[in-house]
Amino acid sequence: MLKIKNLKKYFGGIKAVDECSFEIQPETITALIGPNGAGKSTVFNLISGILKADSGEIIFDNKNITTLSPEAISNLGISRLFQQTRLFNNLTVKENLLLALDNEDTKFWKNLFGLNKITEEKEEKIREMLKLIDMENFENTLAKDLSYGQKRLVELSRAILNPHKLLILDEPVAGVTPSLREKIAEILLKLKKQRKTILLIEHDMNFTLKIADWIIVMEKGKVIAEGAPEEIKNNPKVIEVYLGE
């Protein structure tokens, strides 16, 4: 579904991503792990079009997306959760979620003449999602008034509601409470049951081992190992990277 081929991204003399190659299989959860500065978030920024690669290719669904804009990549079916919360603070929770559903809201005349109605189907999707994250009563709350954990849940919901074939999640449980971590794991396991394709970055090894089907390990911009969770757990190279010699 997603192929990264010899991807390179340098910032001045710093090799953030260096000849990085890997592949994501459909209907799997793949975790991208590695120490800080390994280049994981840069890879995510390259996949979602926020950064442009110096060389290499990103192929998604047999299309070369290396030079496409973030909106074009999103419309091809890659939905993203950022590491820092990026909700629209002055909009309500419901408005934040509605924005993810389709792009009919960007059509000027249709909206001016009131032809872009919020259908019952859309309302139902929002209700279901809010029920899943236990936030049914926060529909009309402004995003800026939510707690950090609630913001994280709403942002995850927004990424899930955004029509996609691949969901890329940058540290979905970073900085959240243990109970919220369980909640997010539950949501991701539910997506796993639905055979969704997910690529995630996560530092929490227990969380990663619990939900990932495949793990890719990066260090200094390169892929140093990949395999099933049990394999990776016992890989001496990975142990060395994480714990030191």
């Binding site: 979602s48 926020i50 804009s69 973030p70 909106e71 999103s74 419309n75 939905s79 993203r80 950022f82 990026r86 909700l87 629209f88 603070n89 002055n90 909009l91 408005e95 509605l98 924005l99 993810a100 792009n103 009919e104 809201d105 960007t106 059509k107 000027f108 909206n111 001016l112 009131g114 872009n116 919020i118 927004r158 955004n162």
Partner: protein
């Protein structure tokens, strides 16, 4: 006499209201710190005046003013679309200087500092008759201006409360996150600037036909200050606040006329008054009267 004066003030309120709510659309709702708004007002005023002086009917002058300003809004959006905050403010301010310089120096078209006198008051041909309705009295002009201001208000209200308006607000809050949801924010910002410019052009046309004389001095950056004050004092992303602030800011400096200062003092006093109110609001009520977001 008092009645005529009141009508004059109400006409000014209506013209400034159109100018302020259209600026609110780009600044408050879309987050574009657009200091070139007065240039669209100028383009609308000159386009309408020149067409009217060449015998075109008022409705065509009015629409052409809006459309030409909108085209310039589109052209301005091309080089400025990637700019943000103070960089965008500087670029749009430069645009208003360019338009001012053109109005001042293209003398064969605009008569430069001599201005364009004798702009006709609006008149309408009544269909299927030979009768022309002349809006020569200020009261009839007030009715026309009020109607156009009301229609402008309703259209902008419709835009901002529709899902389209929510995308504009999302672009203001976090452009990258909006793009990641598949929205073309380049298109959204361009549309916002075009709509905003259209209504500024319309208000420019109304101003030209009301005063019946325009010259470049009516379209300097100084003229933008009260409009920007209205937007900030009313509160960013609030139409209700903009209406209230327009009324207050147009009426507040009026007593200065009756104190007996020479006219050379009244102008600067007015600017000082606006600056004082703005300062007090920013200190004690940073969101303005009904603002949804704080000025950053």
């Amino acid at each position: 006499m008092v009645f005529a004066y009141l009508i004059h003030l109400l006409i000014l309120i209506c013209i400034y209201l159109i100018l302020a709510i259209s600026l609110q659309l780009s600044v408050g709702f879309t987050g574009l710190l657009n200091l070139g708004h007065i240039a669209f007002y100028c383009i609308g005023a000159y386009a309408s005046a020149l067409l009217a002086l060449n015998g075109f009917p008022f409705w065509i002058c009015l629409l052409a003013a809006g459309i030409l300003a909108m085209i310039f809004g589109f052209l301005l959006s091309l080089p400025t679309n990637k700019l943000k905050d103070d960089y965008l403010a500087l670029a749009t301010m430069a645009f208003s200087f360019v338009v001012y310089a053109v109005a001042l120096n293209w003398t064969s078209l605009t008569r430069g500092p001599l201005g364009l006198p004798g702009i006709p008051k609006p008149s309408f041909h009544i269909p299927l008759t030979t009768y022309n309705l002349q809006l020569t009295t200020n009261f009839s002009f007030l009715l026309l201006t009020f109607t156009i201001a009301l229609i402008s208000y309703l259209i902008i209200k419709k835009i901002i409360s529709s899902p389209f308006g929510k995308v504009l607000e999302a672009t203001r809050d976090d452009e990258l996150a909006t793009r990641i949801l598949g929205k073309n924010t380049f298109k959204m910002k361009t549309l916002a600037l075009m709509i905003s410019a259209f209504f500024a052009g319309i208000s420019g046309s109304l101003y030209a036909h009301y005063i019946t004389f325009i010259d470049p001095s009516s379209f300097t950056l100084l003229q933008l200050i009260p409009v920007l004050c209205i937007v900030i004092i009313g509160g960013l992303a609030s139409l209700k606040g903009t209406v209230i602030a327009t009324i207050i800011l147009i009426l507040l400096p009026e007593p200065l006329r009756f104190i007996g200062f020479p006219s050379s003092i009244v102008g600067p006093m007015r600017q000082i008054l606006y600056a004082l109110i703005l300062l007090l609001i920013l200190i004690y009520k940073p969101k303005g009267f009904y603002g949804k977001i704080e000025l950053e």
